[in-house]
């Protein structure tokens, strides 16, 4: 369905998995008037194209509400600064938090967006205790989440156990490879205990230690990712303990460390030895945090249509937008049927080359066996097949050797390149080649120079 054909009304509300889906680090939402991330040049280009297609955005006025709306692109983890254009475009949300809440509830407004505070029940709560530290509380999964600047689309997005909050906010340095950045809150050590106490009182379900946080997994009936933390990634889930790993090597290491003993236990039925039987691949898994001692990937149930496929499928709306963008950048495609080109071109080729005349009047079914592989009733050709395999393999190896020799020739400078005949003897006597006790032989130099023995 094209954007311009999309009717506006009650059905314009977001249906999870149908109207929005994850596209890597971006969220594509079919919703009116939401802004792009201001720093995203590609998204800006996308908007520019869409605006050019739909006319001047400034002349909408009252007509704007009756016109089909554009799908916005919101970077995952965008902070409030990305919503600077919100007011310019009369967006219904005051912050990225409101927006994420709307996503989590699949409750985006329709034509006339209601007031977000009233209409959008939030999965992320930002109470007065959390707000000064830019923290949020996921009311669905009961975790504290850091919304300070970070590396996930500009936001930290790390889930925090309570006893790590102080350290996370105040630490002065992080490893270069860490996904975190220094938040630099000027808190005094004396404030640590009161802060933790306050958090425990107000959020008693929140995990206190990293070990407790590692026990958190999505609810059995939960569909879609855990809101507020890093977006899902594909990976491998252990069939025994259901821990996830992003690479096969890490998964193998886990099995070797945790489950190797299982195979040795007497009475335990032997486990499968294949990787595919030990781990199963999932299109989406998440970890609440990527801090060293808190990584624990778990599988999530992709929302909506995405649950039926390995990768979220692009909708026709996405394709329309992509085609528009491509047309803008590269120009419209020539309106020629590719299949027709192939057929016509190949037939013309066969005609002009004489191939059609060459086989005219002959049965293809009789000609094709002539160029078939050797049959069992053709012993000489069967022997030829074995000989040909040997010959071809040998040639391929020689080509490889020749390539190596050629590379060596190029690297080893000109004395080797044009060395031949008497020049070899001169070169052997030259100080240039005095490379120690072991002197090169004439034949070794010839080999290096690809010269015949």
């Amino acid at each position: 369905m094209d954007f311009d054909d999309h009717p506006v009304g009650e059905d314009d509300r977001i249906n999870p998995g149908e109207r929005w889906s994850l596209r890597g680090p971006l969220l594509f939402l079919k919703h009116p008037s939401l802004s792009t991330d201001a720093d995203d040049n590609d998204a800006d280009l996308f908007w520019q194209v869409m605006e050019d297609e739909q006319g001047d955005p400034k002349d909408d006025g009252a007509e704007c509400n009756t016109r089909p709306h554009r799908p916005p692109i919101i970077a995952w983890g965008s902070d409030d600064s990305a919503f600077n254009l919100v007011n310019q475009r009369n967006l219904p949300y005051q912050s990225i938090g409101d927006f994420h809440s709307a996503i989590s509830e699949a409750h985006l407004p329709s034509t006339v967006p209601p007031e977000p505070a009233a209409a959008l029940p939030s999965a992320l709560e930002r109470g007065p205790i959390l707000r000064p530290y830019q923290l949020a509380y996921n009311t669905v999964n009961d975790i504290l989440i850091c919304e300070n600047p970070g590396k996930v689309g500009g936001m930290c997005c790390a889930a925090l156990p309570i006893n790590q909050v102080f350290k996370h906010l105040t630490q002065k340095a992080v490893r270069e490879t860490s996904d975190c950045i220094v938040h630099g809150y000027p808190l005094k050590p004396a404030e640590k205990a009161p802060l933790e106490q306050l958090l425990r009182e107000n959020y008693p379900k929140a995990p206190f230690t990293p070990a407790e946080m590692q026990q958190i997994i999505p609810h059995p009936d939960q569909i879609g990712p855990v809101v507020g933390v890093r977006p899902p990634v594909p990976g491998y889930i252990c069939s025994l303990c259901h821990r996830g790993y992003t690479s096969k090597d890490a998964a193998r290491a886990h099995w070797k460390q945790k489950h190797k003993i299982v195979n040795r236990n007497p009475g335990v039925p032997p486990l499968a030895t294949k990787f595919e039987d030990r781990f199963f691949w999932v299109p989406q898994m998440q970890s609440l945090s990527l801090h060293a001692n808190m990584i624990r990937y778990f599988a999530i149930r992709p929302d909506g249509a995405g649950s039926h496929s390995d990768h979220p499928a692009a909708s026709s709306d996405d394709m329309t937008a992509l085609n528009s963008l491509q047309d803008e950048v590269f120009g419209p495609d020539d309106e020629i049927d590719v299949d027709e080109i192939d057929v016509n071109a190949v037939q013309a080729f066969f005609k002009t080359s004489g191939a059609v005349d060459h086989v005219a009047g002959l049965s293809a079914d009789k000609l094709i066996p002539l160029v078939g592989l050797p049959r069992q009733d053709e012993p000489p050709l069967v022997k030829l097949r074995r000989a040909q395999s040997l010959r071809f393999t040998m040639y391929c190896k020689r080509v490889s050797t020749g390539s190596i020799a050629l590379r060596r020739l190029i690297v080893i400078t000109k004395p080797f390149v044009i060395l031949s005949g008497s020049k070899v003897d001169n070169y052997l006597r030259s100080p240039f080649y005095a490379t120690g006790d072991k002197q090169p032989t004439r034949s070794s130099i010839r080999r290096r120079c690809l010269l015949p023995e």
Binding site: D342, V343, A345, V346, Q347, F350, S353, G354, A355, D357, H358, V359, A360, G361, L362, S363, A364, D365, K366, L367, I368, L370, V371, G372, L373, P374, E378, P380, L381, K383, L384, R385, R386, A387, Q388, S389, L390, R391, F392, T393, M394, Y395, C396, R398, V399, S420, G421, P452
Partner: protein, 177 residues
């Protein structure tokens, strides 16, 4: 290995045609001489000289015929991994890929068994030619074999030339300048 099988099809093609007498040997004017005993209708089929009594025939040069005979002999007497058999295959490949009737190919490309082989490889059952997607892989394999053969043929001749006592610099000048 698929590439080698594609070239094997070519060898099998020419050997089958030769063994069943489905071939001509070229003379001064191309299709002037035939080894087949079914050339009584040649005058009536000048428009399609490669079809004799409804049977498809290929055109072979004398060098190609010699190489095929040599290969047949080696196939009958040598082990599959013998050097003689390999040399015989090399000789046939060289005769096919670097024939001495290239002038005639300007008039009719299908005097080359290689071109005829590619034409037949493009056919599909029931008649007609395959889609380009299906042909490309075969063409690539064939071209690889041709280039491989020419590469080693040139190297071999270069070495033979040097071993024949030619001055090294002269030889290099001839080949690479």
């Amino acid at each position: 290995m698929k590439y080698s099988l594609e070239e094997l099809r070519l060898f099998a093609f020419v050997l089958r045609c030769f063994d069943s007498g489905q071939y001509f040997t070229d003379g001064a004017g191309g299709y002037s001489e035939t080894s087949s005993d079914t050339d009584t209708s040649q005058s009536s089929e000048t428009s399609a000289p490669h079809i004799r009594n409804g049977i498809y025939c290929i055109n072979l040069t004398l060098a190609q015929v010699s190489a095929i005979k040599n290969l047949n002999d080696r196939l009958a007497t040598c082990a599959y991994n013998s050097k003689d058999l390999r040399d015989a295959i090399d000789a046939l490949a060289e005769a096919l890929y670097m024939p001495d009737n290239t002038d005639e190919m300007l008039v009719n490309i299908f005097v080359s068994p290689v071109a005829a082989w590619m034409c037949l490889r493009s056919l599909v059952k029931g008649g007609g030619f395959a889609a380009p997607k299906l042909i490309t892989g075969k063409l690539v394999a064939g071209q690889c074999s041709i280039r491989l053969c020419i590469f080693f043929s040139v190297m071999r001749k270069w070495r033979q030339r040097r071993e024949a006592g030619k001055n090294a610099s002269e030889a290099e000048g001839d080949w690479f300048q």
